[in-house]
């Protein structure tokens, strides 16, 4: 399902008319997309499987007279990003899971001090040093966690390299619109795979922000900070942040659906798992099963209402992840026990096969077949298989 073919040469007359696909590696495509989006500065630290992103930036950013620094650690990289972004610069950092854990501290500070920045996490297997294989085990971390305190960060999950290119530009726009860090949650396959893409680059417009640090010339000094020692003041700040998160939840939900119109079984998957699921849907439909895919693109805000509406007409939902079951918790919250939920996950750097997903779909279809349709437990937990 990951296309490895190179683009074939076209006659010159045709090449003039249609943009020619280029073979791109995910990490490099995201790096170039950030450059084309107007990224002023990149800070990083080598880690597999995102190292090509850093290497691309090491070559390209100095060529363009922009900033590239290989930091002493992920702590160093993201704090450099904090400093640069506090001056209003458009800043990118990237890492993979263990590095993301080190970046958690500054994510909390940047959320608190409302500094926009884009962070790409090319997930690998965990916990601990784990493996360098692709994984989606950082879903909890990205959507619920990283650092301390009451905050949220928009999380965008690409499912193809073309989409990764588009989402990179979108991420800068969302970051600046809401003054927040934004995570692009990719996985080792998204980072390492090569496929022909017609990259559609975009440079989001820059709005004068009015908070950024430029030196106090003919204005009062500005402070970018997260410290509010008076509890009343900090509570007011938290109310302000929560209002912002409510606005993001209202306006920034993204998802895509395929074959949902007649679907009895809805597969919920994102990123590489969704790519596998697409192949599984084709095979399952060949067997006469009416299956569709609901693919969250924004993991936070999670498309809860949209999924609930889609699942209303379905017999069962099958969640597929490269984790032991993380997004499935948001699916349960979204569906509130109204639809039975099944789960299939692989961990540790393993990728589910289309065959496994078809099997999970067949199982879900059998268990929830109309002649058996007794009384699925209210929260669907009895129907969940691992």
């Amino acid at each position: 399902m990951v296309l490895m073919t190179t683009a074939t040469a076209e006659p010159a007359s045709q090449a003039d008319q249609a943009p020619r696909p280029v073979l791109m590696k995910g990490n490099e495509a995201m790096a170039e997309a950030a450059i084309q989006a107007g990224c002023d500065a990149y800070f990083g630290y080598p880690i597999t499987p995102q190292a090509e992103l850093l290497e691309w930036m090491a070559r390209r950013m100095p060529e363009l007279g922009r900033v590239f620094v290989q930091a002493e650690s992920e702590l160093g990289a993201i704090n450099m990003a904090l400093g640069a972004a506090a001056t209003g610069a458009r800043v990118l950092v990237s890492s993979s899971s263990p590095g993301m854990s080190l970046m958690a501290e500054a994510m909390s500070y940047m959320a608190g001090s409302e500094v926009p920045m884009v962070l790409i996490n090319v997930m690998r297997g965990g916990p601990g040093l784990g493996s360098i294989g692709p994984s989606q085990a950082d879903y909890f971390q990205a959507t619920k966690g990283h650092g301390h305190g009451d905050y949220r960060v928009p999380v965008l999950a690409p499912s193809s390299i073309s989409e990764a290119v588009a989402l990179t530009a979108d991420a800068f726009e969302v970051a600046e619109r809401y003054r927040t860090p934004v995570i692009i949650l990719a996985d080792g396959v998204m980072g390492q795979a090569m496929e022909p893409v017609v990259p559609v680059y975009r440079t989001p417009a820059r709005e004068p922000a009015g908070w950024e640090l430029t030196g106090a010339v003919e204005r009062d000094p500005r402070v970018v900070r997260s410290l509010h020692l008076r509890p009343e003041e900090l509570e007011a700040h938290n109310h302000h942040l929560q209002a912002k998160y409510a606005a993001i939840t209202e306006h920034e939900v993204r998802w895509a659906g395929e074959d949902l119109d007649d679907a009895d079984i809805v597969i919920v998957a994102y990123g590489t798992s969704a790519r596998v699921a697409r192949t599984a849907v084709e095979r399952a439909r060949e067997q006469g099963l009416r299956v569709g895919i609901f693919r969250p693109i924004s993991l936070w805000p999670f498309p809860s209402a949209e999924l609930a509406a889609v699942a209303l007409g379905a017999r069962a939902v099958v969640v597929v992840e490269m984790s032991a079951g993380q997004m499935v918790e948001d699916v349960r919250l979204a569906l509130g026990g109204r639809t039975p939920i099944f789960f299939h996950g692989r961990t540790g750097g393993m990728v589910p096969t289309p065959g496994e997903v078809v099997e999970a779909v067949v199982h879900a279809a059998a268990v929830t077949a109309p002649h058996l349709a007794g009384h699925p437990s209210p929260d669907g937990t009895k129907a969940v298989t691992r």
């Binding site: 002023d40 500065a41 800070f43 900033v67 620094v69 930091a71 002493e72 650690s73 702590l75 160093g76 990289a77 704090n79 450099m80 990003a81 904090l82 400093g83 640069a84 972004a85 506090a86 001056t87 610069a89 800043v91 501290e105 500054a106 500070y109 001090s113 640090l213 430029t214 030196g215 106090a216 010339v217 000094p221 500005r222 402070v223 970018v224 900070r225 997260s226 410290l227």
Partner: protein, 263 residues
């Protein structure tokens, strides 16, 4: 600084413009007030305030931005040299300094200061060493003197248990990326004047486009040390300097290495 008024009274001492007219949260006898003033005087005298972006660190001095009338970004604990690196790289014309305590710079932030120094980042580091974690209630710092009683070394710092004070500025002075490294004190007016000269030199190094400059300033924490302000100043003057001798450790702007740019 002196101005001639119409009735011929001469103003010889006044609040620098870069110092905010407000009351202080620092304890009586704390050295931060003196050091803030030195920084503010230099920002005025060297006309730096409008181009300055300061980096505040974690500790009592996080509130430096309440007293110094310049743009500031607040850093996580110890990360100020990394934050300053980010500011510096995207703002080549800004004047960038960090203001860090000894817990911040010499414990949790050692990686960040060492690598900012190794890269020769064009920033000035104001490193205030009072040998204790003041803000959290007077715990032992890596800079705490041997035998010194703190709330986390109640029997006195024991080298066998807690190791030795870190002469981190001397360590940094070894790195070619550090253009200027010096240690001053605020124990008496002549020393304060000398420290101001060190800070001025550090700022000049940055303006000259040379590498990292750092001035360590031996300061006081009377509350954390269990001393009166007067006793604390005497302690710095007579005891602390035994472990941390004053002086300029390196000034590479004066002696350019082969191929290095002239001052």
């Amino acid at each position: 600084m002196s101005t001639l008024t119409s009735d011929t009274r001469r103003v010889i001492y006044q609040r620098p413009e870069a110092l905010v007219d407000t009351s202080t949260h620092y304890c009586p006898g704390c050295g931060h007030g003196i050091i803030h003033r030195l920084v503010a005087e230099l920002l005025d005298e060297m006309h730096l305030a409008p181009s300055t972006i300061g980096v505040a660190s974690v500790g009592c001095s996080v509130f430096a931005y309440d007293y110094l009338a310049v743009d500031f970004v607040e850093s996580p604990h110890g990360r100020a040299p990394a934050v300053a690196t980010g500011v510096r790289r995207v703002r080549p014309d800004a004047f960038v300094f960090t203001y860090q305590g000894d817990g911040d710079l010499a414990a949790i932030g050692t990686a960040e200061i060492v690598h900012a120094a190794a890269r020769g980042e064009r920033i000035s580091v104001i490193f205030v060493n009072n040998g204790i974690y003041g803000m959290t209630g007077g715990q032992m710092a890596p800079t705490t003197l041997l035998g010194q009683h703190t709330t986390s070394s109640p029997a006195g710092r024991d080298a066998g248990l807690a190791g030795y004070p870190i002469p981190i500025t001397e360590m940094l002075a070894l790195l070619p990326g550090v253009t200027y490294a010096a240690r001053g004190s605020i124990a008496d007016p002549p020393l304060i004047g000398r420290t101001k000269a060190m800070l001025r030199r550090a700022f000049q190094v940055q303006l000259a486009g040379a590498g990292l400059s750092i001035v360590e300033i031996l300061s006081t924490c009377p509350v954390g040390w269990g001393m009166t302000p007067t006793e604390a100043m005497a302690h710095v003057a007579h005891d602390v300097v035994e472990t941390y001798p004053l002086g300029v450790m390196v000034d590479r702007l004066k002696v350019p290495a082969t191929g290095a740019r002239e001052a």
